[in-house]
Amino acid sequence: MPSAPLPTSLLVGAVLLGLPVGCSRKVTVTCYSVRGRVLSAAEPVAEAMVVFHPLSSSAEAPQKPLAYTDAEGQFALTTDKPNDGAPEGEYAITVELRAPRQIGEETVRDGPSQLPAKYARPETTPLRYRVVPGMNDVPPLAVGPR
């Protein structure tokens, strides 16, 4: 039968094509590096939690980009891989400096935020940023007096 090889090769091709699709567990989004700094009265805020809340549909990712500031108040966002940044789009930025609290044997920053409350909620925060393809250097985020 001359027609036999064609369906067979099609079947093999379909299986080979289907494999990578079946193995990819999650939908991944393209992220762009996002770096910035958190300041309060011109002083750097260390150990603050910075979360980018998507406002546009292009920014929707399986989880919100997140970062913690270092001693100089600097941060680099992580969405899926370390310091990978955030997907392209418009974001509302929340900044919290949670009060230290004892949990188990350690003090964890898990109490109420020590920064003005409006910065803690995506509905009330005045901080906005649009992530664009390429490197993103967010202008310093001023989070008001403590």
Partner: protein, 331 residues
Amino acid sequence: MPYPRGLRVACRRGPARTVHGFTLVELLVVIAIIGLLIALLLPAVQAAREAARRSQCANNLKQLALAFHNHEETYKQFPLAISDPNKPGKNNWAPFVFPFVEQQTLVAGYNLTIDWWVEPNRSLVATQLPLVQCPSTPEQNRVQDKPETTPPNKTGACGDYFTPAGVHLDINQVLPADQQLAATADLRGVIRWYEARNPQNRAADVTDGLSNSIMLGECAGREDVWRRGTRYANDFTSAPKVRARGGAWATTDNPYEIGQRKAWDTAFGPIPGQLGINNSNEWGHCFYAFHPSGANFALADGSVRFLTEQTNLSALVALVTRSAGEPASGL
């Protein structure tokens, strides 16, 4: 029956016998066939071994869950995740339930009013207990040895199981927009720690149903950090420091609320990857086991379930909370 040529030559008797033994090609073919058979069988053998380990792990969780129930039977309440902070002695649930799982000899000398890392408890906590170890964890018999500014170090043998104390609201960073948790939601777990509103854990508090609530889960491999199968060795001296907090089986760092993405040392970076089963064993994140594709869980009714990595996060939240009014379904 025709013999291979070489063999027939070897068997021939008489003075004409000249050649015997196998040719190189024949030997190579035989070796190749044996190699092929081993290659075919090895994965099956490994899978069978892992199945045995998983079943041993499920049995450990079953024993522990029954111990919690025997405790409840005796005291009309489950133990607290962490001993009451208003009373002396920092200990987690483990020494409270061990007398109910035939570990009386181990805890006979244990003083529950003394911190776990202080004698006489210190030398007992050094005991490696197969009961709290998952056999699938690559490194068995680990020891937590956390340096303290005032000695002694917090030192103890490690376990692979923990009691989820509830769900942290930070999980909203990961939940889809239409499944966000309200700030007022009751996110306490079955085995909760002491709070003014939660002086004890009673079976009656599990209003979502004992069969719909997780009591024990796996967080294996602590204090080494594991992120999606990659090991970062426990390190208290380098920068950043590396630690999956809560290794020792008696430490009050053992229980945590799931849903957080913060490393023990912030400089180690936020926990990457998609929050869910088997993403990271770091404190506050989620559940972590070394079983391929999922982890074992003991539910509050004493049954043991295997949940896959694909388990919907909202369903997992519903399973961890004990009285949020959403008995988990469709699992």
